[in-house]
Amino acid sequence: MKGIFISCNQALLDEVMTAMKEIGVRGYTSWEEVQGCGLEGEPHTGEAAWPTLNSALLVFTDDEKAVKLMEELKIIDQRSPKLGIRGFKWDVEGTF
């Protein structure tokens, strides 16, 4: 069981969701509008200076699908590098 936190430009949310559906990832929690700033690139604060916003997803799935999803995310990022998307994967210690 892996957990993935995805933070991406709002405009990419639909694409991430489509990718998840294709891979068969079912469990997720999403926030449509969040503010954030990456280690590089423009901040996404929704203010006058930086008007774009981010979306965030917390996804939990089995190891195999998690790897596939991470690969998909990377493809999306390469397709539109200016928009910004990042995924963070870790082991889940327990669930019920």
Binding site: N9, D14, E15, E47, A48, A49, T52, S80, L83
Partner: protein
């Protein structure tokens, strides 16, 4: 879910909603009436009261004064004027602009009911007319006839005038120049005296011979018959055989003492169309009624009437105001289409992408059509103001769509999918679009709140632009993103054209960035130059701008009133009228129809009797070919005609009226000096001095006084003692005199259901000199003949002309024309200086009235409004920036707009009128937009962490393109308006010009000045912060 997302998700709903708006708009367009202006007509109501036999002074004292005193209390009254002349008093109430005619009429009727009992007993009941004497007729028709000529008056009166007067909105229909048929019994006084017969006797016998009397019924056998005497004359000649007495056993017939002719009235008004004898039908509309609407109804009615008229009668409409109005509307439609195309080209050129251009341009028709829905709901019409509003907004409505589309494009360029980009990009700019639309609306909305003439004019404009901008904002936020997802391409390839455009704009941006960089590093020098320029232009050139009220509209109509010396015989007037008419027709091929009317109308023609007329006066109506079909303008033609008329030595005074009218919107400009004073002689003298002084002013070629000269007349003064000795009295001899000269109506001659007067009077040659009058025989109580010369004498006197009053004091109006190339302000200035240099006698005062008064009132309202707008715009900007200083910086665009306008007006020699002032008003809302964009973006760049100086240049560089684009669409959108030459274009030319010049100049300055001021302000703040920090650290 937000509105942008739901719009993009439901494209069908969104598109159909806007389609519905468009369809309703088209529907409204078909139902909207067309007019020249919104209900701008001054509301005039005339009260006409006849007091037969009273002189001008009596009328003034006993009729006009009491009426004025009572009517003065009517609500919304602006001025009250009266004209008292022999037999008649005309009181004209002028109401504030926008007053409801019906309500005003009802109020006047109430007041009249109250005052009626205080008037002398012989005064007739006052008649109310819902228009003013200054209103020009909306339709003039000439009538030609051959066989029917003698009975024409009755035919026209019954079959044409009466049905037309019933048409809704028609004020009055009057027939001029058509004589009434009359059977004249011309008597020879010497023969009558020989037989001992009088005019009265003949009249009485004719009346009793011309009878039809039902005598009851009789029963004969089984039947009942009615019995009647029908001895009415079958033809005029029968009168000759009437027995009027016996002498020495022989009958005396009418033919023994008189001749009978079946002819027309002697004193008539004659009218000539293009030199040919004709009748004239004049249609006047009610205040506030729609001319085009009336013209249509009249035309429809005429089509019904024509077949019922005898075949030889030809009625031709030669002046129809509605033609000009429709032509004006059409030429504005051309202007609007032109603007549409030009704006489209600008968008295409700046964006370089046709798909984007289509999306943006589509918002234009939708917002335009929505404003038409407003017009229909508000009961307004398509007119110069509403159409100008449309033309003005074309350049502005695309701005919002441009901003949205630009942002969508930049999102797509960053790699977003079209659908997402449309939603998020729109959402990002949504708030700022609403804010910038609000600033513009802040300018236009207050227009809906003002009153007075400016209110009447600008209310529809305010509402229309507000509606249009609101709809365009809604369209930009929903319709544009939907269209973007449907029409735009995900990865468009740049066309070669677009590359050229980009290269050119990049070069321009580079030049601008360098210039900007230089100016923000030389702030002091730059500011000194800029404000130096401002003061030089405003102080130095500003006073040279001429001012006017409304430009004179070339509506292809000229009215001329020519007066010969008072008392000139009608035959002489007629001869000259025909000569002038022929000369003008020969010299001016532009004249299509020339109609001249001279003479005095019948006394029972109430409309004609309130107008100035006399045997010495002639009235011309000239219909010119359309403005677009001739080289010489109307004002130029008027000037030439004035010069020509001056060559006729017989003419005492003349008045040439451009547009057929004076003052108001579109009428000829004129300077009205109102001279108040009780003593007629003193005011006459001063008025003459002022007239001479005004004639010496350049550009003022014609000056007229409203008070005419004294009219010479003969008065028969009876000696009461001699009358008494003969058992006579003034009433009986006066009647006797009247019957012999004016004639006695003996009876009526009936033919085909029409009645004509049978008039018995002296033959003409027996009443043509003073001796003839003195030789009239009267019979005293003993039946002995007495000559009138034994009862009194004829003296020659002068009667005072009509006495005019305004606001309850006697006054004379001195009207000066404004020549070609001169503006109202030129003549006003010189006149005021001239009068001030004169020494006016005690009790005489003066002021400017008419057009100048309207101009001053309206200008005052507009300037007040402008202050209100500036405050409102400031408030909106302050709340937008949450700062008091930045909006102040942005406000500096305003004075430079004024500089641009002054330049524009001076270079083109256009006077500053209401329309140009309206342009300046609009500039308040438009010019600040560029400043807002610049300051907003520069602050954003600073917030992103750039250094101040760099941020200013980066901000300027990035905003240059959108600023240029929105400015160019507006400026170039105004060019068709400013340069159009169609019918009616005089009206909106100055509006287009002031916006175009003001906005381009202010944009040019704003692009440098605002960043410079911004830098200074931001630097000062930075320093202050640093000092504070330093203090704190210490």
């Amino acid at each position: 879910m937000n509105i942008y997302k739901s719009a993009v998700k439901n494209p069908i709903t969104t598109i159909l909603t806007f389609c519905a708006v468009a369809i309703f708009g088209i529907f409204s367009l078909q139902r909207l009436p067309i007019d020249l202006f919104p209900h701008i007509d001054t509301t005039y109501i005339m009260v006409i009261t006849a007091y037969p036999g009273a002189s001008a002074v009596d009328i003034e004292e006993n009729v006009s004064k009491p009426l004025e005193n009572s009517l003065n209390a009517v609500d919304n009254l602006k001025h009250i004027m009266s004209k008292s002349k022999e037999n008649i008093s005309v009181v004209t109430c002028q109401f504030q602009y926008g007053t409801d005619v019906e309500v005003a009429t009802a109020n006047i009727r109430d007041k009249l009911d109250m005052v009626l009992n205080n008037l002398p007993d012989e005064v007739n009941k006052p008649i109310i007319f819902k228009f003013g004497t200054d209103d020009i007729p909306i339709i003039l028709m000439s009538v030609h006839a051959q066989e029917s000529w003698s009975g024409l008056y009755k035919i026209l009166d019954d079959k044409v005038a009466t049905p037309l007067a019933r048409v809704d909105g028609v004020g009055t229909v009057s027939i001029q120049g058509v004589p009434e048929r009359q059977i004249q019994v011309y008597c020879d006084p010497y023969k009558m005296e020989a037989y001992g017969i009088t005019i009265e006797g003949i009249a009485q016998i004719i009346a009793s011979e011309n009878r039809q009397v039902p005598a009851g019924t009789i029963d004969i056998g089984n039947n009942t018959y009615s019995l009647r005497v029908d001895q009415e004359f079958q033809e005029g000649k029968e009168i000759l055989d009437v027995v009027i007495g016996t002498r020495n056993g022989a009958n005396i017939y009418v033919r023994d003492v008189a001749t009978v002719s079946d002819t027309q009235q002697e004193r008539i008004q004659e009218s000539f169309s293009n030199g040919e004898r004709s009748g004239l039908i004049v249609i006047q509309k009610q205040t506030g009624a729609n001319s085009v609407d009336i013209a249509k109804k009249v035309e429809k009615e005429m089509n019904k009437i024509r077949p019922t008229l005898p075949s030889d009668i030809r009625i031709k409409t030669f002046v129809n105001t509605s033609d000009t109005i429709v032509d004006t509307a059409n030429s504005l439609v051309d202007t609007i289409l032109m603007t549409f195309i030009v704006v489209m080209l600008v968008v295409m050129l700046m964006l370089g992408r046709w798909r984007a251009t289509i999306i943006i341009v589509l918002t234009i028709p939708i917002s335009m059509l929505s404003s038409l829905i407003y017009l229909l709901i508000a009961g307004d019409s398509i007119n110069i103001i509403s159409m100008s509003a449309i033309s003005i907004s074309i350049g502005m409505v695309v701005d919002n769509a441009i901003v949205v589309l630009e942002n969508i494009t930049s999102h797509v360029d960053r790699g977003e999918r079209l659908k997402q980009a449309s939603v998020f990009a729109t959402k990002e700019v949504g708030l700022s679009i609403i804010a910038s639309t609000l600033t513009t609306i802040a300018v236009f909305y207050p227009l809906t709140l003002i009153t007075g003439m400016a209110g009447v004019l600008f209310k529809p404009m305010g509402w229309m632009v507000t509606t249009t901008l609101t709809v365009s904002m809604a369209a930009a936020l929903t319709f544009t993103p939907v269209l973007a997802t449907l029409i735009m391409k995900q990865n468009p390839k740049k066309s070669r054209f677009q590359k050229y455009v980009d290269a050119a704009l990049d070069w321009l941006t580079e030049v601008y960035a360098r210039g900007l960089n230089w100016s923000i590093h030389h702030r002091r020098l730059f500011l000194v130059c800029a404000f130096g320029l401002f003061f030089v232009v405003v102080m130095g050139l500003g006073p040279r701008v001429k001012s006017e009220f409304f430009p004179t509209q070339d509506n292809a109509r000229i009215g001329i009133i020519v007066k010969l010396p008072v008392g000139t015989r009608q035959e002489i007037t007629k001869e000259l009228a025909l000569r002038i008419s022929n000369d003008l027709r020969r010299d001016y091929p532009e004249i299509e129809t020339i109609n001249v009317t001279e003479g005095v109308p019948d006394s029972d023609n109430s409309w004609a009797s309130i107008q100035d007329n006399g045997t010495y006066m002639m009235n011309f109506n000239l219909a010119l070919s359309k403005k677009t079909e001739r080289k010489r303008g109307m004002i130029e033609l008027c000037e030439l005609i004035r010069a020509d008329l001056r060559k006729y030595t017989e003419i005492r005074t003349f008045e040439v009226r451009e547009s057929g009218q004076r003052g108001g919107a579109g009428g000829g400009s004129a300077v009205d000096v109102e001279l108040y004073g009780y003593d007629l002689e003193t005011t006459d003298r001063v008025a003459q001095q002022i007239k001479q002084m005004m004639l010496s002013i350049d550009g003022c070629n014609e000056v007229n006084l409203s008070r005419d000269e004294y009219t010479p007349e003969y008065q028969f003064v009876f000696d009461r003692e001699k009358l008494a000795q003969n058992g006579l009295n003034v009433a009986s001899v006066a009647m006797l005199l009247r019957n012999r000269v004016n004639g006695a109506v003996a009876s009526y001659y009936r033919e085909d259901g029409e009645e004509y007067d049978i008039l018995v009077r002296y033959e003409r040659r027996f009443r043509e000199s003073q001796e003839d009058i003195e030789n009239i025989t009267a019979y005293n109580s003993e039946g002995k003949a007495v000559k009138l010369r034994d009862l009194g004498k004829v003296v020659e006197r002068h009667t005072p002309p009509a006495i005019e009053r305004k606001d309850r004091s006697r006054y004379i109006k001195i009207t000066g024309s404004v020549g070609k190339g001169y503006a109202l302000s030129d003549i006003i200035g010189a006149t005021a200086a001239g009068i001030n240099a004169m020494e006016l006698p005690y009790g005489v005062s003066w002021k400017f009235g008419g057009t100048y008064e309207d101009q001053q009132d309206t200008f005052r309202d507009i300037i007040l409004l402008m202050c209100l707008m500036i405050i409102l715009v400031y408030v909106i900007m302050a709340s937008q920036f949450e700062s008091l200083a930045y909006p102040f910086v942005i406000m500096f665009s305003l004075p430079f707009a004024l500089v641009g306008v002054i330049f524009g007006l001076l270079l083109t020699g256009t006077p500053l009128g209401v329309m140009a002032l309206l342009g300046i008003l609009m500039l308040v809302g438009i010019v600040v937009n560029n400043g807002i964009v610049l300051v907003d973006y520069t602050r954003l760049v600073v917030a992103r962490g750039e250094k101040l100086m760099d941020a200013v240049v980066i901000g300027g560089r990035s905003r240059l393109r959108p600023i240029l684009m929105t400015t160019l669409t507006t400026v170039i959108g105004m060019v068709p308006m400013a340069t159009s030459d169609g019918i009616g274009s005089e009206m909106w030319k100055s509006l287009g010009m002031s916006v175009a010049w003001g906005l381009s100049f202010s944009t040019l300055v704003t692009l440098f000045l605002i960043p410079v001021l911004f830098t200074s302000l931001a630097l000062r703040r930075q320093r202050r912060r640093e000092k504070k920090a330093q203090r704190l650290s210490e």
